[in-house]
Symmetry: C2
Subunit: 480 residues, 2 copies
Amino acid sequence: MDDLLPGMLHLVRDGGETLTRQLTDQLRGLITKGRLAPGQRLPSSRELAQSLGLSRNTASFAIEQLAAEGYVTLSAGRRPVVAEGLSLDRSKSPPRSGRGGGARIRVSAWASSLQRSVWPPIHKERPRPFQPGLADEREFPHDEWSRCLRRAARNAPLRRDRPINHPPLQEALLRHLVVHRGIKAVANQILFVPTAQAGLALVANALLEPGDHAWVESPGYAGANVAFEAAGAIVSAVPLDSQGMVISSHKETPRLIFVTPSHQYPTGRLMPIGRRLELLRFAEATGACIIEDDYDGEFHYEARPVAALQGLAPSPRVFYLGTFSKATYADIRIGYVVVPEALIDLFELAQRHMGILTSITIQDALAEFISAGAYLGHVRRMTRLYRGRRDRMLQALATEAGNRLAVETPAGGMQLLARCRPRTNDQQLSARLLEAGVVSRALTRMLYHKTEERGLFLGFAAWNDKEIDQAARILGRIVR
Amino acid sequence: MDDLLPGMLHLVRDGGETLTRQLTDQLRGLITKGRLAPGQRLPSSRELAQSLGLSRNTASFAIEQLAAEGYVTLSAGRRPVVAEGLSLDRSKSPPRSGRGGGARIRVSAWASSLQRSVWPPIHKERPRPFQPGLADEREFPHDEWSRCLRRAARNAPLRRDRPINHPPLQEALLRHLVVHRGIKAVANQILFVPTAQAGLALVANALLEPGDHAWVESPGYAGANVAFEAAGAIVSAVPLDSQGMVISSHKETPRLIFVTPSHQYPTGRLMPIGRRLELLRFAEATGACIIEDDYDGEFHYEARPVAALQGLAPSPRVFYLGTFSKATYADIRIGYVVVPEALIDLFELAQRHMGILTSITIQDALAEFISAGAYLGHVRRMTRLYRGRRDRMLQALATEAGNRLAVETPAGGMQLLARCRPRTNDQQLSARLLEAGVVSRALTRMLYHKTEERGLFLGFAAWNDKEIDQAARILGRIVR
């Protein structure tokens, strides 16, 4: 053995790897391949060093490393021994390469259900008109933002005691929400989460028990449906009239109601005060909670934005959900939830258990961006820009598609719903548009009750006039 | 009415608010307070403008805003009418202020259980010795990092097609993990999540069905227990011997096994290759999956770090979990999971459904930080520094506490376990230390089976020699 082992090793003196590493790796390889058998004695590190012409240290380090990893066993005054039980019996193992290998892993029912989910729509390519949900990030003051971010990162060492939700951002955002959205809260009711979707999951997990009923709008935002279903709830689709969700006493009493009162998703309709109060009275009477998703409430084109439900509610049962990804840029990955004051500690604990925390560096940069007025300035500039684009879009669609599409004028937001004739195959239409380079979302993908409504959901905010006109021409050609 | 209304309004011409806004807010107030009754006719906007001495536009905007919000109803050629159904019947409502108000909200069983959870330990104050889990952030190259971050933020507009997991970071991290941790994977098997805890929740939700069995180490990391319990699993605590988890056939067959083989949490022990292979064989035989949490595997002090389980596994059933929060700084909020290749698409969909996405700007900054060598340079420097601090800590504890504490020398990582005599009240001891300014975690808080083991979990990485000596003196005084 003392003679054999050196012949099995091939150390390269001017290779990229140290001799210690080469020796360790090669010995480990001989053991795992079975060329050095369990129980076999190895030379001592002194003998090994001599026969290989290495320093004693090099050989010792290698042997000790293998002992630390458990490949060899050391005992005082004796030569190292190859450890027992190191075979994995690979003959029985499936091949580990290829996509088939992992298919044997049984996933949960929830994970299986994801494969059938139509949410979220994923466009892996560069965004194209009229992909909904996008802000025009070309207009965002990236330079100013990157200065805020750098400053916040440089100041990080000064912030050693760190709550998970940054008080300066809570205060800056609260001032904004009170003035512009009519929120009634104290600053630490605002919790920051990586995405609005994580905020939905947070509220759903904290309130819903398996078997509870939850109401969503139909048509509506499927992200709510999937969050509630993941929490085990039975989701009921509630149809809309011109004022929004039709509060019906026919359905099972809900534990949680999801609404988008500022600009209903996807119709863009504003829920008037009467329906808002009706909804709040219903929640009071039944003990239901409400998630008010104000996803793009910043952008309102007809008069001023309407005050949020949260500020109207007589008791704290509205969870106000917002995001910075529409009013700044999608990649910022900061959403927020305004929770009832009595539940702050519980929700912060839930954030930690779910691991949905966001960087204080980014929260601090955002606090400066808001406090310096850059946020409101950007929102105001974008509101003017997007209003113009909405009007351009309405005009372009009227010109190109005429009476084939009935377009609802949205009161605000970044997208609109163009209704097709009943029973049109809007998914097929959307697929044909995609082939021609125009992105849309079929209304039937957002409907959860039986109806003959059909349409296309189209984003206008991220595209300039030329892009809008061009894409409208393509759309017109295809719908005619 | 035409005469009455002006008397109810008090507009200030050089106030901070525009006249339109004052008029709208005051009219809305009169309606919500019931001073203008449902069904009551208001003056036309022309009449209102005249009687108040306002421009016609100002009065029109106010009336239209209230109509948009639903407070008044407009019909062609007629005067505006106060809308019906605007009362909330506040007499029946509870007061909305105070922490008692929200207590009426019924939360889920999971949310209730959080209030009894001892995880995570939360220290709201400035970190103090020997708080476990902390890196020395004073040593982190914040300036270099902030330059990477700024550059990444400025380049954001150039990145319009954005996968949720950034390929340049996947590639940079993979090169690091292959060389330093023995991972076998392709780059897009690496998914980035806001925290390691979110990574645990991701794997738990994707694999566990309610009633499934999951194994955790005892003592061990409670974040795994809570993630598995949240997914409905029955968690079994598996005791350790000197090699780590004792694989027993007495317990129910697990669906998922959580281990920390690099430096067991909290004992700091390394799982030798024999136990690693035994665990892998057991997983193969039973169809179980393994989460290998390599939370501080970067810092290894005896010889080289041992190769990860993930790279040894004969088939893809190991989920390798890591975080940048130990090797960079806690606030970076980027964890990662290496998932089996066949499950990449499913897990990315699960990330979207759970909303656990992280900013590509940060991912891009981190890719540059790694590629430029700054990451490895920092890890190497910290490894030398932390090894010295570990040794200082061992020495200081021996001097100050003598045989009252039996300290295990950890093979790596940022903390160590100091065992007390059996049946010591380690929670009381930890509380007394906290009063004296020394933070620790009682071993019994991390034990999930019946045993007389007692001890204190102490972090050494974030403290310099002087801080270590001072805190050890306090600790010595209290344990003696």
